[in-house]
Every structure is written in structure tokens, then in C-alpha cells.
């Protein structure tokens, strides 16, 4: 823990993943809505669960976890399987509120769930939210214009209610060779997760490409998913999206700090 951690807690929300918090220079700016994108299997949901669990355990901040993809049981099993042992207990005592696909995908229930969620977000007890996934949320809206309008309103509502949110997005193409969608610029920050296959499994990477109102390290960092969840290495990978084809095998790339755009 750095010495300015304490003074940062008002403005920064730690993810609980030390390496990622270092990249973020202490955490995510409080009140931000951050897009987390990546292909299936890159660890997006795990990042979300760790973020929520960390808030409850270390900061007494309740979390709301919305999943259009899985049932409450699947989520709890996944959490426990990566070593988040307290998940079920937190859900039982209300520190974590889960809305699963059974509720959210019911056509008639979506709006009533949404109404309840929006009441939940009014409460001081909760200040962290994960939406898994934004892709599914957007399916409730007919046109591109509606999707943008309602994503912006949703972000506004969350922000106004003091939430710091991770909005998970399934991306189709492997980064960084992908199209930039409206989600990328409507959100306050973009975190990309990626994996490349190897003989023994996969090399995993995390890249924080944008984070409004704060300094970040824009290098690409290797990460692992193991017992305990995501572990981000503290040295950047030997390449960086920002430096293009200027690939350097030297792992010790320093610097790389920039101000997030406005």
C-alpha cells in the first residue's frame, strides 16, 4: 500500500487487484462508469466479482451484480471456484445483491427489476455495480440512438447515486484490432482484457486504454487467472499498443504515464 492510499479512498475506488490498482495509480475515480471489454474467457466476469467482493470485504461498500448471462447459482459457483469464498455469505446478508438472468431476461420483469435496481442504487449501502453484460442490456433498445441515449442515462443515474460501475462488454474481435463502438467513448474508462493461445494454455493481458480524470499507465500488462482470481504482473509486457510496431523484447519498459482525456 502506498502512503497516499488513505487520502485517495475518497476519490479512488480500488479494484482489489493490486497490479491493476497500480496501473490505475490507486484505483478508479469514484463515480466513474468503466467499460471492461474482451473476448469470452478473458476474465471479465472474474474481474467484476473480485471488484464487488473486495468492496464488501475491505471497504464495507455493498455491491450490486447484474448478470444477464448466468443464474445466481452459477455466479456463486464461479466466485467460489476462483477462491472468493465469502460470496454466498455476502449475498445472504445483503452486502451483495445479485440480479441474475432469470429475473433480468424475463420480458415483463425487466422493467420491474430495473425499478428495484434503481431503488437499490438510491440506498447508501451500495456503491459498486457490475453489469454483465452491457451487450445484453443494450438489446432492450431498438435503435442505435436509443441504445446510446439509455446507456448515457443509465451512466448518469449510477454516477448520481454515487456508484462506481464496471460495465462488461463482450467484444468480437481480438484487441487491439477492433472497431471503437459508442460504448468506448460514452463511458469514463476502458479496460481491455485479452488472451493469446499458447501450447500450455493462454497468455493473458490487461490494457487500461482510457480513464477520465486520472493518470494511468497505458502499457499492456500480462496477467494470470488463478486461485484467488486475477493477478496482474507489475512489469509491462514487452509491447505496447501505443507504440505500434515498435515492439521491444525488453520487459522493463518504464514511464508510459499519461493523463486521461476529458
Amino acid at each position: 500500500m502506498s502512503e497516499d492510499t488513505q487520502k485517495d479512498t475518497d476519490t479512488k475506488v480500488t479494484t482489489g487487484i493490486t497490479g491493476l490498482d497500480n496501473i490505475l495509480k490507486g484505483g478508479i475515480h469514484r463515480g466513474s462508469a468503466v467499460l471492461v471489454s474482451g473476448n469470452p474467457g478473458t476474465g471479465k466476469s472474474i474481474l467484476g466479482m473480485q471488484y464487488i467482493d473486495h468492496g464488501v470485504r475491505e471497504h464495507g461498500e455493498g455491491g450490486v451484480y447484474l448478470s444477464f448471462e448466468e443464474t445466481e447459482d452459477d455466479i456463486a459457483e464461479a466466485a467460489v471456484s476462483i477462491g472468493i469464498d465469502g460470496w454466498r455469505e455476502h449475498v445472504e446478508n445483503g452486502d451483495i445483491v445479485v440480479y441474475d438472468k432469470m429475473e433480468l431476461l424475463e420480458e415483463t420483469d425487466f422493467s420491474s427489476s430495473l425499478t428495484r435496481i434503481l431503488e437499490e442504487v438510491d440506498s447508501d449501502r451500495y456503491s459498486r455495480l457490475v453489469m454483465d453484460s452491457l451487450t445484453m442490456f443494450e438489446m432492450f433498445f431498438e435503435s442505435e440512438k436509443e441504445r446510446r441515449t439509455y446507456l448515457l442515462k443509465m451512466i448518469d443515474i449510477l454516477k448520481h447515486n454515487g456508484f462506481t460501475s464496471l460495465l462488461i462488454q463482450e467484444s468480437e474481435a481480438v484487441f487491439p484490432d477492433r472497431d471503437i463502438g459508442p460504448e468506448e467513448f460514452l463511458t469514463d474508462g476502458n479496460i481491455y482484457l485479452a488472451q493469446t493461445p499458447t501450447k500450455t494454455g493462454a497468455n493473458r493481458y490487461v490494457w487500461v486504454a482510457k480513464m477520465r480524470k486520472q493518470e494511468i499507465d497505458t502499457h499492456i500488462f500480462p496477467m494470470e487467472i488463478k486461485q484467488g482470481g486475477i493477478n496482474v504482473h507489475d512489469k509491462a509486457a514487452g509491447f505496447s499498443y501505443m507504440s505500434g510496431e515498435d515492439v521491444d523484447d525488453d520487459m522493463d519498459i518504464g514511464g508510459g504515464t499519461r493523463r486521461g482525456g476529458l
Partner: protein, 120 residues
């Protein structure tokens, strides 16, 4: 799931409403909040009897919805109405004009309401 678009079987009644000055003003007033006949009459300065007639016509045309009863400041229970019309489109390509009406979906309503709460 998303905003519902419907083609109207009786397009003329809707076009009638949209051609009426009072009805259009009532529609606008009800587009972002629920109101009672009295409230509409006061806010829009339209005689109460006219408001009642227009509410009936607008309801019949499916342009406004009865939302239930609400309490006024002096504790009276009054019927309140609301419009969820997002868009009305008229097509003239065939013999009969075709009218499509797009309403806000439930998801849109929920988010709109929450969003309005934070604007205050």
C-alpha cells in the same frame, strides 16, 4: 422487449387527435409526467370540460394511458394520465394512409423515471 411499434387499424382517429390544438398540448404535457384533468386544465389553461373530452378521445385513440389514482395536495384522489408515445409516423405510399405509433418500452420508462428523479 424494446420499444413497441404498432400499425394502427384506425389511423384517422389518431390523425384527428394530432390535428387538434388542445389534444396536442395535452399530449406534450403528459409526455414526461402523469397529470390529472384538473392539473392539465390549470397548467395549459384549457377549460376543464374540454380537457375531459380530449382525455377520452386521446385514451380511445391509444395515445394516452390511465395510470391510476394519485393524491392531490389537498388530499383528493384524482385519476392521472400519461403518454408513452415516442413517435407517430404517417405513410402515404398506399391508397389508405398508414400510421405507425411507437411507444416507449418498459425498460425505457423505468430508466426515464429514474433519470428524471436525479434531474431535480
Amino acid at each position: 422487449m424494446s420499444g413497441t411499434t404498432q400499425t394502427l387499424s384506425d389511423p384517422v382517429s389518431v390523425l384527428d387527435c394530432l390535428g387538434d390544438e388542445y389534444s396536442v398540448r395535452i399530449l406534450s404535457a403528459l409526455s414526461d409526467k402523469q397529470m390529472s384533468a384538473n392539473g392539465l386544465s390549470e397548467e395549459l389553461d384549457i377549460p376543464i370540460a374540454t380537457v375531459y373530452r380530449r382525455i377520452e378521445t386521446l385514451s380511445d385513440a391509444g395515445l394516452i394511458e390511465y395510470e391510476g389514482k394519485a393524491l392531490t395536495q389537498d388530499d383528493k384522489r384524482v385519476k392521472v394520465y400519461r403518454s408513452y408515445i415516442d413517435e407517430v409516423r404517417v405513410f402515404f405510399e398506399s391508397d389508405e394512409p398508414k400510421v405507425e405509433m411507437k411507444k416507449y418500452s418498459d425498460a425505457q420508462k423505468s430508466i426515464d423515471e429514474a433519470w428524471k428523479r436525479i434531474q431535480r
